[in-house]
């Protein structure tokens, strides 16, 4: 229970920071709507549902990347990683709290993106919504781990996309194909991997 309370306190802190700064979520919303608008005009009329669905997944992954690049800004700019790492709580709570806050921003962006997609292209069925929900978990768990790794690196603006986008390929494959079991497996695998390795990511050598 103590672990979950730590996670809750850390996630609440991130939501409060975003509520005050209003930087990440508006940018994600604007970005995903702009992407879908561009795709709407770029795609020839009469394109298949599979093609439009592929564009939806591309937009969602890139929007998530935008959110992830902002996820550790306060920790990086204000040196807060040191203060958090020194606290005697389980360090994986930092990762899980951050993953939950990124998940909240992503869900908010998708609450706008999916109706916009339905408006521009075609309706969204329940299977796609379920796939998006499962993909969100994988995106946030693995993306937050890579975000923390990128904070410690020198070329952090380059590092996060280079790490995250290849790792997101299976998510796009599973999402476009509607393979829910595959997305669930990805979530479990990467959640365990990120939970177990975060300690080493934040420990300086």
């Amino acid at each position: 229970m103590t672990y979950l309370r730590d996670v809750g306190a850390l996630a609440r802190k991130d939501l409060l920071l975003e509520l005050r700064a209003k930087e990440t979520l508006p940018a994600m919303l604007l970005f995903v709507v702009a992407m879908l608008t561009i795709f709407h005009f770029a795609l020839p009329s009469g394109s298949s549902d599979a093609a439009t669905l592929g564009l939806l997944w591309s937009a969602l992954v890139l929007t998530a990347l935008l959110g992830l690049t902002r996820a550790f800004v306060a920790e990086r700019e204000q040196g807060m990683f040191d203060a958090l790492v020194l606290a005697p709580c389980d360090r994986s709570a930092i990762w899980l709290g951050k993953s939950l806050s990124v998940l909240a921003f992503l869900v908010c962006a998708e609450a706008v993106a999916l109706p916009a997609f339905a408006l521009f292209f075609s309706g969204v069925d329940a299977r796609t919504v379920a796939a998006v929900a499962l993909a969100d978990l994988g995106i946030c768990t693995v993306g937050t781990l890579f975000g923390a790794m990128a904070v410690a690196g020198r070329a952090r603006e380059l590092l996060l996309p280079l790490l995250f986008l290849p790792a997101a390929i299976p998510i796009v494959v599973g999402g476009v194909g509607g393979y829910l079991w595959f997305l669930a497996l990805y979530d479990v695998l990467f959640a365990v991997l990120a939970w177990a390795t975060f300690e080493y990511v934040v420990a300086e050598t």
Binding site: T2, R5, D6, A9, L10, K13, L16, L17, R20, A21, A74, Q78, G79, M80, D82, A83, L84, V85, L86, A87, P88, C89, A203, E204, T205
Partner: protein, 191 residues
């Protein structure tokens, strides 16, 4: 409290320092001096467990025993002092958080500003809040990097009083050793 032998730190080809021995008793006071860039901050980060020595042996107390004040006060600027301290009090498992947070804010003259965002604070007020965060869990070891930076006379007086309490081990890194030289039980001078 701390025991280190033959400590060295390198970043790639750049040697920060080498051959440092550190020993600090439970009520000891180590004064670390030296010009900017000489390795004081790196040593303090090492003693906080935030940077591993490249070579050498280092024994440190558990994380919960350490209060570390860096160059930055290590507080979230978009949160208020109360929100910052409550977050860390939660992570440090401090019982009766409200009382402890209130007492520290009173002591460092920040009670009136407890609901203002830290981003609106002067650098000196941020430093005071950083000290509150460091003291929150009553750590038996304080690691303070240039702690008098930006503090006004009143703030410096509060810090002086804290350091004179002598009930805990302290490592203070500064390029102005005059203020605390009389408290030092050991010195380490970087060239």
């Amino acid at each position: 409290m701390i025991r280190g032998h033959g400590l060295a730190k390198r970043y790639g080809d750049r040697r920060v320092f080498s051959g440092i021995d550190v020993e600090l008793a439970d009520d000891g006071f180590l004064l670390v001096t030296g010009p900017n860039g000489s390795g004081k901050t790196t040593l303090l980060r090492m003693l906080a467990g935030l940077a591993a020595p490249t070579t050498g042996e280092l024994e440190l107390p558990p994380r919960a025993s350490i209060g570390y004040l860096a160059h930055d006060p290590l507080v979230y600027r978009e949160l208020t002092p109360i929100e910052n301290l409550n977050l860390f009090a939660r992570l440090y498992r401090i019982p009766e958080r409200g009382e402890r947070v209130g007492m520290l804010l009173e002591r460092f003259g920040l009670w009136e500003a407890r609901h203002q965002r830290v981003s609106s604070f002067s650098r000196g007020m941020q430093q005071r809040l950083g000290l509150c965060r460091v003291l929150l869990h009553s750590p038996p070891l304080l690691l303070l990097d240039e702690p008098f930076n930006a503090l006004d006379a009143e703030g410096a007086g509060l810090l002086d009083a804290l350091l004179r309490e002598g009930s805990r081990a302290c490592v203070v890194a500064t390029h102005e050793p005059g203020r605390v030289a009389h408290l030092a039980t050991a010195r380490l001078a970087f060239a």
